[in-house]
Amino acid sequence: MSDQGTSAKLADAVNVSLTNVTKSFDGMVAVDELNLDINEGEFFSLLGPSGCGKTTTLRMIGGFEEPTSGSIVLGGRDVTYTAPYHRDVNTVFQSYALFPHLDVYENVAFGLRRKKVGKSEVRTKVGNILEIVDLPGYEKRKVNQLSGGQQQRIALARALVNEPALLLLDEPMSALDAKLRHQMQIELKSIQSRVGITFLYVTHDQEEAMTMSDRLVVMRQGRIEGIGSPQDVYDNPSTEFVATFLGASNLLAGKVAGQSAGVTTITLGVGSTLDVPTSRLPTSLSGPDVKVGVRPEKIRIHVYDENLATVGNTLRGRVRVSTFTGVGNQYLVETSSGDDITVYAQNIGEELAPRSGEEVVLSWPVEHTFAVRPAETSISNDELAS
């Protein structure tokens, strides 16, 4: 198995390849014609709301579910219908799923023992991996005497000690409190770069996915909505769903009016227009209807002044709510076209903050504007809650 793994490494950098993978449960489609390539050594995340098919995808790669159709190739070998115990893949489960009847040492050694690794080698490997997850000397502890964070590290050690071609992580942080989670994110990322194993991480937490991933996909209703590096997907969301799910977005409905010199002009309701780089316009527009977006932190807010000179896109409005958050100010501005726009302004101690009710001008560079096709099915609040 390891021979195949190394030869595949030399042949090409793709570690896992999903082709047209579909999974339905009693006629309900959970994963819909999914195509995905994950590269060797990558930290890759599947991100999406609950029920988007991300965990089902992970379980199919792990071998716990069989795809209804399509194929899964791992390290050059078709494993679509291979049993989990015959795959060079290990999983860190959401609930950790440690063996309650075994101590820490036996939990971590479980996979090695099944692979008939020699006793002294098992001891060395378990010792090393416990060092890596920062729990040396915990060998004889019972797993139910460990804290949540420690159990998580043991679950990670138990999977990593087998040096799999691919490590699957199913929302491993969901049971940890916010502070510990943040610490573990950094640690997990550093462990990943140290061991060099491909990580496939499933989460509904967009911040978590962005912090750790080299690349990520945003999934919705069993399909991929966006794929790329976190910055790519964040700055240039491909769909309305990605724009709303990943961070906060201001999305304004408009119609394509005209194009010139790489810039497309979009009209919003009464009179106002916005410019979008044509390259950032979705290719699959079915009509003139489009949604224009800009991230709240990209917008500059100025108190209205006749002599104010602005470049790029400009909108006039009135501050409805102004909130001081310490690191900055958050404004809710109602534009003349009746849209609500959120603005984050960093507290750098220079500008005079506009107050509620004041007339303001919002401006941002054209290159920070994006446009997406309006979502066919409306996005519910449940999907966005994380």
Binding site: Y85, Q94, P100, H101, F110, R114, A159
Partner: protein, 293 residues
């Protein structure tokens, strides 16, 4: 500073658990602890076989005497109960396993199906077994007719019949704790075992079986203890031979009026049962006992 009414309230609240457990406590004291103490005290009395009247003489010489006298019946009981319990474990493990892992939404239905025969009275069930196993019954007539057994073959009145009856009558006491133990095994832990290269059979031996051990032990105790003291199966199915200790105790009390002897044997039975439970608590912890009993 707390005011008097609040103190009163707090006092009443502190008392609430005791008041709530009072009915059960009284019940247990009057109908269990007191009779038990009376029974134990009889072992120290000397009783007249003619009138049945007992006088406290603080003599416990009866105890080694009867134990010695009925040693054979003790051994028979131990063997019968042990074999019947093993039989029950072997029979009910696959059933409990299947219901727990493959019962799906109809788990409760299957459990009730398992229990339905036991809605019928213990005695009647055993009498029906006598009918089934009798020399002219369905089973033996069929077997003899097809020359599968010699013509003189019989089951009633043998140890086999007693063991079969015991195994049949105490099956739910084995099956239910096993079911509970298997049902509560976290399926994700089994996924984890598969993920860590354990095949289905290795997962069974390395994960399912160790996690089911407390349930297996509980099932063993819950079946073995009542089977050990049982006398009905032996009397109905076992004929005159293979007397079990339960029958001896019953006879001492009801026929021979040897209350001291019967009470002594009962005390020995009790001690043996307690030993089993103590062993369980020592090996597997007292918390798991509460889960099954």
């Amino acid at each position: 500073m707390s005011s008097p009414p609040r103190r009163h309230g707090a006092w009443r609240r502190g008392l609430a658990p005791y008041l709530l457990s009072l009915p059960a406590g009284l019940w247990l004291a009057l109908l269990f602890v007191v009779p038990l103490l009376i029974m134990l005290s009889i072992t120290l009395k000397t009783c007249s076989p003619a009138s049945g009247a007992c006088v406290m003489t603080w003599q416990w010489g009866e105890l080694p005497h009867v134990v010695n006298q009925y040693r054979g019946q003790f051994v028979t009981s131990l063997i019968f109960a042990f074999v019947a319990t093993l039989l029950d474990l072997v029979i009910s493990f696959p059933i409990a396993y299947w219901i727990a892992f493959y019962g799906g939404r109809r788990k409760n239905f299957f459990l009730i199906m398992l229990l339905v025969p036991f809605f019928v009275s213990f005695i009647i069930r055993t009498l029906v077994w006598e009918f089934i196993l009798s020399n002219n019954g369905v089973v033996l007539t069929f077997l003899r007719g097809n020359h599968l057994v010699p013509s003189g073959f019989h089951v009633l009145g043998t140890g086999l019949a007693v063991v079969a009856g015991l195994a049949y009558n105490y099956l739910p006491f084995t099956a239910l704790p096993l079911y509970v133990a298997l049902e509560r095994i976290d399926r994700r832990v089994l996924n984890a075992a598969n993920d860590l290269y354990a095949t289905r059979s290795v997962t069974f031996v390395r994960v399912i079986l160790p996690l089911a051990i407390p349930g297996i032990f509980a099932a063993f105790l819950l079946t073995f203890i009542p089977a050990f003291g049982d006398y009905v199966n032996q009397e109905i199915l076992g004929g005159t031979s293979n007397t079990m200790i339960g029958t001896v105790i019953q006879n001492l009390f009801l026929i021979d009026s040897d209350y001291a002897g019967g009470a002594s044997l009962s005390a020995v039975l009790l001690v043996i049962s307690l030993l089993g439970i103590w062993l369980y608590a020592r090996l597997l912890g007292s918390r798991t006992i509460e889960d099954y009993l």
